[in-house]
Amino acid sequence: MRIAKGLRLAVVLGLLATGAACGGGSDSGSGGGKVELTLLSHYSDGPSKDGLDKMISEWNKENPKIQVKAQVVKFDDLLTTLTVRQTGGRGADIVSAYGLWGGQLMKANVVAKVPDDIATKIKAEYSPAALGAVTTGDTLLGYPTELNTYVLFYNKKILAAAGINKPPTTWAELADAAKKTVKRDAKGNIQVEGLSLIQDGDNKSVHPFLSLLDSAGGKFLAPDGTAQFDNEQGKAALKFEGDLAAAKATNTSISPTKQFRSGGVAMAIQAGWWIGSLKTQMKDKYSDVGVTAIPGPTAGSKGSLAYGFFMGVNQRSKHADEAWKFLTWMNEHKTEDGKVTETGKWLADQGLIPPRTADQAEYKKALPDPNLAPIYEAATYAMPEPNQPGAYEAKTALHNAIMTVLADGKNPDDALAQAAKAVKPQ
């Protein structure tokens, strides 16, 4: 009894010090019947910021009593900012978060339950890949926003110079193309990397691996969070990557987002958002870029990974009803021509796949760039990225395992077994 009392006292004192108990509300305000909602996101620059700002100012003009204020940070700082502000009792009313974080945010009671009527509509109107990326167990975390799928980008000129006139359609062809296109100087410095198996950002080796795993028919995590990748398909996918690393056709020190545009990478497994960056960076040379589905081990097989973002309401928001009202408007109101939603247009303008099925269908009718077709197509078969509590840790364990194979030449079977052991369902 005395211990329990002491423990409670310690917790209370500790919270006083750390500020975790500070009010517990969001930093929204209300005065004179006017409500101010805050929206925290990573849409911090370029078209993503402009589009969101445009929608917010339109809403603010039409709804003088519910004003929305955008708070933006870079993606790399989003989770930390969200964590710190929430801990300090100053979490935003509306949070935009990466689907992978959904499980842990739900476990920590950060995101509020989506009201039943809104959840029913979302489930009926959004694509399975988009829903899968922002659903933990049976719980929908919010409105799906960004949806990305993985595809194979290739430089047509580099492939043609190596005598390859069509993109690879099997792992054997992919490996062959990677080995034929790699170039090194006399000192061993890489001039052209055959196939890039990493991406920028967190756990950079996992998404390309999961895309290959999907193409072989494998899975990452079971719904209960146990590892599913330590099997025949997983070993085959990692062995495929390991063989390319041993042949020096792939190298983890090369950043495809920096080197591809200047012809330093022949092929790269990347997310669809990259297309927008390549267009801007490569200008006329963008015509050298080709996009195709990520091939599988046998002819006709293919795979991809879909990951998404969502916008949900903070469980501590004092104005949850107003927040849902804004989110419903933002995701449902249509553009002037009435063909797609404003949010769908905002995302498509950035080269992202609109998560709403009707928007996707409308854009698919007349894609402005043929390279977008495989990206949209992948949304129909891609493996949604699991996001239950513990998924982020599991992903990090898998990343470490993949890197031991790619960078240190470790046996793929041992690496996967070690990663599977580190995955702890929560």
Binding site: Q104, N189, T396, A422
Partner: protein, 312 residues
């Protein structure tokens, strides 16, 4: 009689002092209260909270989700199947010992040389500059120099040596960041050691010179022994700094990679708490690191005291 009076007086004087102390006590505590409050709020209470969390399962934010976990967090953290003991804790110790060794050796050398040069202020400022510069700037500059097409590899290539993946090869990554950390911390140590050198009386060197001692003998038999208190301070502060440091590693490697090769305990704690929402495990790691730092600091002090040295 006189003796008896003086004895009575001797007994009465401490009693008066005690009474005075009792009267002044509240005022003393009142003056100390801002510092004590600061100490409690920012050190003692968070420390107590961290101890509670180390025995709990908590995803952050909402206290109602806090669950008692017993010693399971410590079991996970100290398990040899996990990554914390090896490679993370091993990396932490290698990083700390390596940077302390390099920084101390380098700073003794630099301080000794500066003490014999003209324009000493200029040299001290020059070596102190990395301490003033932000970790982000230092990390990024060295990161560029370590790149396959960077300055260091260009020099190696000119010498006929193939490029080295300083930050991408797991064998080289930890030594590479250790060197940068040591380089960045030399300035502070140089400042303390030059002050220590200035405190050594010149007459010892003059006497040694008369006895025919050369520079090496003078350094070994006079400078180094008399520099021990300053050296001890440098060693302890550098070591604690090395064990807690992770900002440079984030800047240079991003995620403690490749393959956890540069992951250290403080960075892992940060990741567990702020990325994975595993506050219990992060706090258990903090407790383990606290015990290690305490043990090593006590060991350093014990060794120094056996040799009759103190830092203050």
């Amino acid at each position: 009689m006189t003796t008896a009076v003086s004895r009575v007086g001797a007994v009465a004087a401490p009693a008066r002092r005690v009474g005075k102390l009792h009267r002044e006590g509240p005022a003393a505590y009142l003056f100390l209260s801002p510092a004590l409050l600061f100490f409690c709020v920012f050190l003692i209470l968070p420390f107590i909270f961290a101890i509670v969390l180390a025995f709990s399962d908590w995803g952050g934010f909402d206290l109602s989700t806090l669950k008692w976990a017993g010693f399971s967090n410590f079991g996970d953290v100290l398990s040899f199947d996990g990554t914390f003991v090896k490679p993370i804790l091993v990396n932490t110790l290698l990083f700390a010992f390596g940077s302390v060794f390099l920084a101390t050796f380098g700073s003794v050398l630099v301080a000794y040389c500066i003490d014999r040069l003209s324009f000493q202020g200029f040299w001290r400022v020059l070596y102190f500059l990395p301490v003033v510069a932000t970790v982000v700037a230092i990390g990024n500059v060295w990161k560029m120099m370590y790149q396959p097409a960077g300055l260091i590899n260009a020099v190696l290539n000119k010498l006929g040596v193939n490029s080295v993946g300083f930050l991408s090869d797991s064998s080289y990554a930890l030594p590479s960041v250790t060197v940068v950390h040591a380089w960045a911390s030399i300035g502070g140590a140089v400042l303390i050691l030059t002050a220590g050198l200035k405190a050594i009386p010149e007459m010892y060197y003059e006497a040694a010179e008369v006895d025919g001692a050369n520079s090496w003998h003078m350094f070994w038999s006079i400078t180094l022994p008399l520099l021990r208190p300053a050296l001890l301070f440098v060693l302890i502060t550098q070591f604690i700094g090395g064990l807690q440091s992770f900002a440079l590693i984030i800047v240079m490697t991003g995620d403690g990679g490749p393959v956890n090769a540069t992951n250290v305990a403080a960075f892992e704690m940060y990741q567990r708490a702020f990325k994975f929402g595993a506050w219990g495990t992060a706090s258990a790691m903090a407790m383990v690191l606290f015990v290690i730092i305490l043990a090593i600091t006590l060991l350093q002090l014990w060794i120094a005291r056996r040799r009759g040295e103190e830092t203050s």
